[in-house]
Each structure stands twice: as C-alpha cells, then as structure tokens.
C-alpha cells in the first residue's frame, strides 16, 4: 500500500497568497494512499527540509510530493533530502503550484482547484514511480583529437598538459592544417608559421600525445567514456622509425611538377614529398598516383638515394583499434570552390586567385618567398581588386551564412600588399565590413586610413581580360554609380565551407550536422562545444566558420570538458533512460531508426544451440539520453522510459 507524503509549501505569500493551502492540504489528506499532507512556510529552507526527512522516517513514506515551485528550481533539492532520509530520490516528484498556478491566476478558488488537480495527479504518478539508481559508466581516460590544425593541436596540448593521454589523428602527412598555410595573422600581423610551428613541435614531442599522421578515423563504436575507434594508418611507403628527414629522397625524385596542395597550386612538389618545409613530422610520404614506380614499375630513385633504407614500396595500410573515453572533433573547413562565379573568371584567368592563394604569395615560405607576384607572369601587380563575399551571404550561388573571417583577412591582405609593394593600389568591393572582435575594427580602420585601401560598397558583376589587365566592373552603391577598374590581380574572399565528406564523417562518428555540413553543437548558446552525442566535443571550424582566436578558445573549452569528464573513474548519469522488454519486442527496428542518438542496438536472441531465434531492440544505457521518442513509436509498447513510463503518465492524466 502506498504511503505518500504531500508537502505543501506556502513560499511565503507567493503560493499561500493565492492558493488556499489549507483546503489543498485537506483535499490531498483525503486522497487514497496519502499518509501525510502538511503545509509549511518554506519547505526549501533547512527546517523545511528537515521536516520532510522526519516525516519520511516516522511514517515510512513510500513516496513524496512537494507542492511548491517549478521542478526546475528545487527538484534536485528535495530529491537529495529524500535520499538523506533513506528514500530513493526518484520517488520524489514536484507539483508546480507556483509558476504554473499561484503566480498566473487571479481567482483564488479556481487557482486552488487547479492546485488540487496538479498535486493529486503527481500523487498518482508517484504511486507508480520506481526506485531508480543513477547509471554508472566507467571512463577510459584517454582522449582522441581528430584533426591536427590549430584547434586540434590546442585541444590535444591542453588535455595532455593536464596529465591525460591523447591520441591526435591527422589525415594529412603533417600537422598544421590551414593555419600553417597563412602568412601573417590579424589583427597583430604576427607570422603564422612563427606561432604555429612551435605548437606543432610541442604536440609531436609531448610525452602524453600519441601522434598519428596520414591516418583516418574509419569507424567509431561505443559511447561516452567507452569509445572504440578504428584508425586507418595510410601507408606512407616510408618507415618513420628509419627516416631521418634528410630530404635526399625528394631532391632525387624526377616527378617535380605536381601542383602543391599546400601552396594551393601556386607551387610545385615532387611525388615523394613533405607538404612544406616545416612539416611535423618531417618524414615524407609517396604520392602513389603520381609516383613513376607505382605507375610503371620502374624508378625507385628515392629508394637508392635513401641512406637510411627507409623507403618500402610494399608497405600496406594498417589499422589500429583504439579505446578512448572522449573525442574532440577538429576536422576544420575547406575553401569553397569559386567556379560557380563564372563572371569572376576564377580558373580562367591565372591572376584571379582566392584569399588562401594570396596567403601563400604573401608567406615568406611560400612559392614566391613572400613577394606578391602575379601567377601569370611573375610581375608585381600595381593594382589589386579584392572581392569580398565571393560565396558567402549569397543564397543564389554561394552559401547563406557569413564566413566571418573574410572582412578581416581582406583588410590584412590590403595591408600586406601595401607594405610589400610601394605605391600599390588596393580596391575592395564589400557588402558590409564586419569587424567585431578585440582590436578588429581598429585593424580595418588602419587598412583604410594608414594603408590607403579604397573600400567600395557594392558587388562586382564581371571580370574580364583586356590588354593584359583584368577589367573589373562593379558598382559603388554609396555613390550610386558603376565603377570599372583596370587591375593586375583579383583576389576573391571565398566562403569557408564544410570539409568534403563532412556529412559522411559525421555519420561515421555519430554526431549531428546542419544543412551545410557543419557539425551541430548540443545547444548553440549553452552547450556550444558539446556535440549532440555525449562524450564527443567540437573545436574549430568544423562547427562553423571561425577565426583563430575563436578556434583556439573553443578547443580549450572542449579540452576542459574532456578533463572534467576524466576527473572521475566512473560517470554518473540520470537514470531517465529507455529500456526494452525483449519478450514482447517484435524487432521491427522503428525505434532504431527513430532514435536521435543511435542508442538502440539490434540484439540476437539465441537458442541453446546458438541459433538466432529472434532479433530484438536493446537500449545502450550509455548512449540513451532519455527523450522517449522510441517509446512513442513502439507499437507493442515494448520500450518504456524510466521516470516517464506509460503507467506513470496514464496515472498522472487520470489523476487530473
């Protein structure tokens, strides 16, 4: 027989001023199964909580309903008090008679009637509550960081420096990502390589970081605290333990004209190569598609040149199975291909380049050793036109969103050009100048005022070649007239878009993504670094376009989330999760499909001889977040949600 205690809080005058609490207490006192029905000025106060505890002990209560403020305020308080009195905390429910009743109704009688209904329905629910235990999940204290750009490196270093193990996975032969490609960085104009390479080296040498380059994550299984990750180690054809990084191999390589990915096609590389001079690790890889040996079985000049005997043409891909407790996804972005703007002539005219290509031209380690030279004739341009929003904020051709960094890097480009080419003229077509950030607006003002960048508010309609010049036709909307500029170079501020295959990769690791392929945070404002999957965190531009400071900040935030997770051996989770009755489950897999967390697995039921007799759904308690979408789908009512069972809810409704 149920012995429910009902504790009606006056909340000073907040409740008692409107609701007739004596009538409420009397009504509930007469309700079947209620042993105690009392009122008090402030149940959340210490003496209030003590009186609840005392009543639980003295009356051997089997359930507690506190009629008070919203459960979002004090559910935790009263559940804790119940636990201290020896009652399972999940046998305590809150009837919200303040926010949903006394505060919002004028008529005292009707408010009291409503309060009685609310409290009674909670009593009916509590009678059917089950004792629940928090779920404990062991935690593997090792993190995986996917992506070795600035965000990934930052996250890995933060976690490693706090004493936890990290596996850092980078799919390219070297760490560095996009930041390594940049020349100087806004708003301080410090050289990207100068601040980036020490961090790359630090990550590679850190005793707690296991660095896997030229490696890709192929499969992720498991759940928070207990992920199993399969990583493909792509064959470099160079044994890293033997290679000394001397570079004799690529000096001998006869294939020298492959467009360098790192230099965005402005420089060339060999078939055996390191992406750039400061690569970490600095062991080369063989690009199989361009290597003469792999094409026709002859050459091996690199192997002959290698004194360390490190080159092995028979090398195969290897697979690692790694167990980690948390994952930080820092897979970055790509620059949008601007081919859809036929009118800008990208790809048609060599001197129409992207912002990232301009970075390579301006970089001291770039193909021109930092000189701004036209790709077509290696001459110094006298006039450069920059076109902002070449893809961003353009729903018709490009993407709807703002790529956030282009205003700043275009201003930076104008400055670098002004510093490097005396008397060079700059014209910038823009839609708005978005320079929010520490020192950012000052920076763009400097480009305009000190480095004489000429900003024209308007769009460019066409770029064409005439007498060796790039003619740019646009409009200056502020002056309200068309503009035509004879330029020597055109730089497009292309949009930042998701990595190719970003959506497929999100499915591989089991996280959500938006319509553009950027990864979804659990909550845009309040949980911006968590993915929707517990234990997987986001850092950098894989989540949305960001600049370096934001990427680094998010990476450190992710790292701190990982460290918080690793601060205990075991995780405790709210037991509000689904479970499946295997006897009645028909195995239709509707729940499997409907679950937003891939938390429902297909389980084989075997007979004694090991033959599969049926398949049923099985909820993984580590992954389930307790939304209950599966419960509603289930036609045979085989799945139920602890804390919100069918039985409880039906009773709650019938108690109204």
């Amino acid at each position: 027989m149920a012995k429910i205690g009902v504790f009606i809080c006056h909340c000073g005058e907040n409740i008692a001023g409107k609701v007739d609490t004596s009538r409420l207490a009397a009504a509930l006192g007469d309700h079947p199964g209620v042993s105690v029905s009392v009122e008090y000025k402030y149940f959340c106060s210490d003496p209030g909580q003590e009186s609840v505890k005392k009543a639980i002990r003295e009356n051997h209560l089997t359930g507690v309903v506190v009629a008070a403020c919203s459960p979002r305020m004090h559910e935790a308080t009263f559940r804790k008090a119940c636990a201290e009195a020896g009652l399972n905390p999940y046998l305590c429910e809150i009837a919200n008679i303040r926010e949903h009743c006394s505060w919002v109704h004028s008529d005292g009688d009707m408010a009291t009637d409503k309060a009685i209904d609310i409290t009674r329905s909670m009593v009916e629910k509590v009678k059917r509550n089950n004792m629940l235990q928090p779920i404990e999940v062991p935690v593997t204290r090792r993190a995986m960081v996917i992506g070795g750009g600035i965000a990934g490196i930052q996250a890995a270093l933060d976690i490693a420096s706090a004493g936890q193990e990290v596996v850092l996975v980078e799919r390219e032969p070297s760490l560095g990502g996009h930041m390594a490609q940049l020349s100087e960085t806004f708003p301080t104009l410090d050289c990207s390589q100068c601040i980036m390479t020490p961090r790359m080296v630090e990550a590679a040498q850190h005793p707690n970081i296991r660095l896997l380059t030229y490696a890709e994550v192929e499969h992720v299984d498991g759940y928070i605290g207990n992920f199993k990750v399969r990583v493909r180690m792509k064959s470099r054809f160079v044994h890293m333990d033997k290679c000394t990084g001397c570079g004799d191999c690529y000096l001998k390589c006869p294939v020298k004209k492959i467009p360098s990915e790192f230099d965005c096609g402005l420089g060339k590389r060999t078939a055996i190569y390191t992406p750039f001079a400061q690569s970490v690790p600095n062991n080369p890889v063989i690009d199989k598609t361009n290597c003469i040996y792999f094409k026709n079985g002859k050459c091996k000049l690199c192997q002959k040149a290698c004194a360390a005997d490190a080159i092995d043409f028979e090398m195969q891909d290897e697979f690692l199975e790694l167990e980690v407790g948390a994952i930080v996804v820092a897979t970055g972005f790509q620059v949008q291909n601007t081919a859809m703007y036929g009118e800008y002539g990208y790809g048609k005219y060599a001197d129409v380049i992207t912002g990232l290509q301009f970075e390579r031209l301006a970089s001291a380690s770039g193909p021109t050793a930092g000189k701004i030279l036209r790709p077509s004739d290696q001459k110094e341009p006298e006039h450069i036109v920059f076109i902002q929003c070449a893809g961003s904020r353009d729903p018709s051709k490009g993407v709807r969103y703002c790529s956030k960094i282009c205003c700043m890097y275009t201003a930076k480009h104008a400055m670098l050009y002004a510093h490097k080419v005396q008397g060079g003229k700059t014209s910038i077509f823009y839609m708005d100048i978005r320079a929010g950030g520490k020192g950012y607006d000052e920076f763009t003002r400097r480009a305009i005022e000190e480095d004489e960048a000429s900003y024209l508010r308007g769009r460019v309609s066409k770029v064409w070649e005439e007498n060796g010049k790039l003619m740019v036709r646009g409009v200056d909307t502020l002056l309200g007239r068309p503009v035509e500029i004879a330029a020597d170079m055109v730089v497009l501020a292309t949009a930042m878009v998701a990595q190719p295959g970003a959506k497929e990769f999100a499915k591989t690791i089991g996280i959500g993504y938006d319509e553009y392929g950027f990864y979804n945070e659990a909550h845009l404002k309040l949980r911006p670094v968590e993915s929707s999957t517990a234990g997987i965190f986001l850092a950098g531009t894989c989540q949305s376009p960001k600049d370096i400071p934001d990427s680094v900040a998010q990476a450190s935030a992710s790292a701190s989330k990982v460290l918080a997770l690793f601060s205990k051996d075991r995780l405790e989770r709210e037991p509000v999760i689904a479970s499946c009755n295997e006897a009645t489950c028909a195995g239709c897999w509707g729940c499997v499909l409907a679950c937003p967390y891939n938390a429902i697995e297909k389980k084989d039921i075997l007979d004694r001889s090991g033959r599969v007799i049926k398949q049923v759904a099985s909820v993984n308690p580590g992954l389930c977040q307790g939304c209950g979408t599966c419960v509603t789908f289930c036609r045979s009512n085989s799945i139920d949600l602890a804390g919100f069972t069918e039985k409880q809810i039906f009773a709650e409704v019938m108690g109204l």
């Binding site: 109704h105 609310i118 967390y597 939304c627 509603t632 919100f644 809810i649």
Partner: protein
C-alpha cells in the same frame, strides 16, 4: 444567465521548451485562464497519441500538445518525429469526428512566456465556445465505471 462553462483542458508539454515557457509566464506574473493542466514530459517525442485519448477518457474538453520549435529540440529530432505523428493523428481524429478545434498543437520556446499565456487564453476561449465535449462524455458515461488505468 447561468454560470459560464469552464472547460477542462489537458496539456502535454516537453520540459525543455514549453514547460520552461510556462515557468517564465509564471516568473513574469502574466495572468491567464486557470483551465489548463500541464503534464510534463522530457520531449515531444515522448508524447504518445494514447495520452490524448487518455485525456479525453478522463473527460477533457480540449487537449493541447506543445514543444520546442523545429530545430530547437534538446534531443535534436524529437519534435520532428512528433510533428509527423501529430499530422497523422490529427487527420485520424478529424476523420472519426473528434473536432480538430479540441486538440491543438503549438511550438512554444522557453523564452515565449507571453506566447504561452496568450495561447492558453485563446484555446480556453475557443473551447469554451465549443462547449463541453458531450459526445465523448456520453461514451464515458456509458462505461459506467471509473476510468481504469
């Protein structure tokens, strides 16, 4: 004139958006009609059509189902699943003669305390105008027993 009819309305709401929106209406001390009783669930995805039938079985004159706006679901997809079920179930109820005006659906975020208060007033008035759901009440009386669980 006799006393005005006070409809009984049951609302099924998700805890992250609409329940929080109702809390906000409370902390903002907005005043609205006292006819609605809320049943809190983790997510609209958990709101089974059977709940609606149970509410009617209990004698409700109207039902409200409410949750997070599309894209805002705490559980990312629960409300999208819910929306499909509602679409189908609404057509079904309509076809069997349960007026669509008696079962309403809404999106109310945790920030929309005002929308919550206004909606409660509107549907209370709408259902008051429809009067008691006598046809369904007739079915309940015919069973001559307390609704069982």
């Amino acid at each position: 004139m006799s006393e005005q009819f006070e409809p009984k309305i049951v609302a099924f709401v998700c805890t992250y958006c609409t329940y929080a929106g109702a809390d906000l209406a409370g902390t903002s001390r907005l005043k609205y009609a006292p006819n609605v009783r809320l049943v809190r669930l983790p997510c609209t995805g958990r709101i089974s059509p059977m709940f609606i039938l149970k509410a009617l079985q209990k004698g409700a004159d109207g039902v409200l189902i409410s949750g997070c706006h599309p894209g805002d679901c705490h559980f990312t997809h629960g409300n999208y699943h819910a929306r499909r079920r509602w679409t189908v179930f609404r057509a079904l109820l309509d076809f069997t003669g349960i007026p669509t005006d008696r079962v309403k659906y809404s999106w109310i975020s945790a920030a929309e305390g005002v929308k919550f208060a206004e909606l409660i007033n509107t549907i209370t008035e709408d259902i008051r105008a429809l009067g008691p759901f006598t046809q369904y009440h007739g079915l309940i009386e015919e069973t001559q027993s307390q609704a069982s669980l």
